[in-house]
Every structure is written in structure tokens, then in C-alpha cells.
Amino acid sequence: MARTASILGAAGLGAAVLLSRNRERSCKVSMHPDDWQGLEDGDTHRRFRSLEQVFHHTKEFVALLVPVGELYLRRPISPAFREQIMIVTATCNDCSG
């Protein structure tokens, strides 16, 4: 029992350190070249077009999981402001959802 707790504790500490490091780096967000594909041909719905693009954005998104959680739990910015940012994003991506 004590051994399990120690292992879990160490794992938790390690995860916290990794996540906090991610948090410092995570301000870096970027677009992928495939994000611009098709837009000039009138396909305004931005979508995944390659595995590389999926990997690129998944990596950046995973690095932001802690602040994502904070956004909803601690509310460092107001929910209305958060939704405004999200709606502008969805509008730019022409997301029909």
C-alpha cells in the first residue's frame, strides 16, 4: 500500500513538473501549412488534411491541457470573453458545428 502510494506520488510529481514546463512553453501556438489548403479554392471549412497536420495540432493542444482545465475550473478569464474568442475562431474556420 505504501509502495503504491509512493509510486503514485512520484508519478504525480513528475507529471506536475512536466505539465508546468509545458505551461511555460505552451504560449507558442502555430499554424500548419495544410491549414491554408483549399481556402483559395472556395473550400472555406478548415479541416484536417494530413496526418502531419493532425499531429502538429494535437501536440500543441495536449501541451495546453492544463490551461484548458483552468479556463473552465478557475476561470482566469471570464466565460463570456472565452466564448467570444471561441466564436471568432469558429467563424474564421467556418465551422458549421
Partner: protein
């Protein structure tokens, strides 16, 4: 934008604020808000990168921590937008997406109602709720004529079929509309539908209260939920519209949910 509008309203945004986000005019926002939203827009739409002035303004306005949360909001939504658009291209993907989105909308809807202390925004459904003094268009719009002007809205049947209305978009006063042509959009938790002009004419007034609180349309579609006042281009078009009895037959005949 159905889910996005629903979540926006759940977070306290009005219909007008949501509409402003589509155009993003500087005058309609506080400076800080606009700085962030403009940065997001530039980031997502400028292939050559965010212009230096916009980037500098963003960096000067927000602390690094605030920038992190703004970018996080954008990135999270960006990721799920692309996922949604990719999956919804196939039939199986559409089903999976609807399994994900519908529970989320249900939760948002439930939260909004509990925040407002309401049990329901809709009156009891009555399929024969078609006032006799109105004229109806087959696309589920009604017209109340007042000589050369009239008021238009959607029928009780339409709001009942659409479910909880979360967003409505119509042109501003002064715009011309053509009978039978789409002139706006109405979004509910279930779908997005076009609004079809029942008659030709010029919009004289738009019901701002209903645009800001679309649940008015659910609650009182023939009263406070009216959509616009129109100056008729040709009053003889009214004769071509359906009476209450004819419209009742139309909807009972099972033709017709609002087109999406």
C-alpha cells in the same frame, strides 16, 4: 454555428454580441476585447502571420498569462473545429460528432435554464395555434397586414419544430426582401434554417429584443417574438398567401419542417 451560439448565450452573451463577433467592428467592442479578438482573427486568417502592429498591440495589452489563456481558448476551439469539420464530411463521422455535440448542448441548455430559474422556455405545444387574422407562407412565416406595412414572424409550428431558438440573423432596416427568397437565418439547438420572406418589400424595423433574446420567439411567436416590420412592395402578394385554415392543413398534411 449552432453549438457555438448556444454556448455563447450560455456564457452570458446576447444575440447582438454574437452577431457582432461575425463582423468584428472595432466600434462594437471594448478596446481590450477587440485587441484580443482581432489578434485571433489575424492569426487564423493571415497566411503571412499576424501583422506586426496587431502583435505589438496584443503583447502590450495583455500579460503573458492572459495571452496564454487567450491562445488556449483559440487553440482548443481550433482543434475541435478541425476535428468536427473533418469528421462531419462522412456519414459515420457526422453520427459520431452528433453523439459528442448533443450531450454538450443538452448540458449547456440545462445549465442556462437552471441559471435563469426556468423549467422550460417553451409553452405547451398546440399544433392548432394559428391565429385567424394572420396570413401564412408555406415556409412557416406569418404576416400581419396593416395596410401598406406589415409585421412578419415565424409560426408557432415552426418554432415548435425548431426547438429552442438560440440565434437569429436578419438584415438591417432598409434592406429589400423578395417574396419566397431567403433573407435571414434562424438557429436552434437542433438545426439552422433559412428565413423566407413571405412578401416582397423593404424592412422598416427589426425586433432587436427578439434578436437579443431569441427565446421570445419560442414563447410568443405571434406577439413579442415578431421578427421584422416590412413595407410591402406589392400588397396584392398578400392574396397569394395561405389562410390559417390552409396553413393548418399544410402542416397537418405532414409536408414540412422548416428547411435546413
Amino acid at each position: 454555428m449552432t453549438a457555438h451560439s448556444a454556448f455563447g448565450r450560455n456564457a452570458g452573451l446576447t444575440g447582438q454580441q454574437i452577431r457582432n463577433l461575425r463582423r468584428l467592428d472595432l466600434e462594437k467592442f471594448e478596446r481590450r476585447e477587440y485587441t484580443a479578438l482581432n489578434w485571433v482573427r489575424c492569426f487564423l486568417t493571415c497566411p503571412d502571420g499576424v501583422p506586426i502592429g496587431v502583435e505589438e498591440d496584443f503583447a502590450a495589452t495583455f500579460t503573458p498569462r492572459e495571452q496564454l489563456y487567450i491562445k488556449t481558448s483559440m487553440k482548443g476551439m481550433f482543434f475541435f473545429n478541425l476535428l468536427f469539420s473533418t469528421m462531419s464530411r462522412g456519414e459515420a463521422g457526422t453520427k459520431v460528432v452528433s453523439w459528442i455535440v448533443k450531450p454538450l448542448l443538452y448540458v449547456a441548455d440545462h445549465r442556462q435554464k437552471s441559471l435563469q430559474g426556468k423549467t422550460s422556455t417553451k409553452p405547451v405545444s398546440r399544433m392548432d395555434n394559428f391565429p385567424e387574422d394572420l396570413k401564412y407562407h408555406k415556409e412557416h412565416m406569418w404576416v400581419r397586414s396593416d395596410g401598406t406595412n406589415g409585421t412578419i414572424g415565424i409560426s408557432f409550428y415552426a418554432q415548435d419544430q425548431l426547438g429552442e431558438i438560440v440565434f437569429i440573423e436578419v438584415p438591417e432596416a432598409g434592406a429589400d426582401v423578395e417574396a419566397g427568397e431567403a433573407f435571414g437565418e434562424i438557429e436552434s439547438c437542433k438545426s439552422v434554417s433559412d428565413l423566407y420572406a413571405p412578401v416582397s418589400g423593404t424592412i422598416k424595423e427589426v425586433n432587436i429584443e427578439a434578436l437579443d433574446a431569441p427565446e421570445e420567439i419560442n414563447q410568443d411567436p405571434y406577439g413579442s417574438g415578431w421578427i421584422a416590420r416590412i413595407e410591402f412592395a406589392d400588397t396584392s402578394e398578400l392574396a397569394g398567401l395561405l389562410t390559417a385554415a390552409e396553413y393548418r392543413e399544410l402542416v397537418r398534411g405532414g409536408e414540412s419542417s422548416p428547411r435546413t
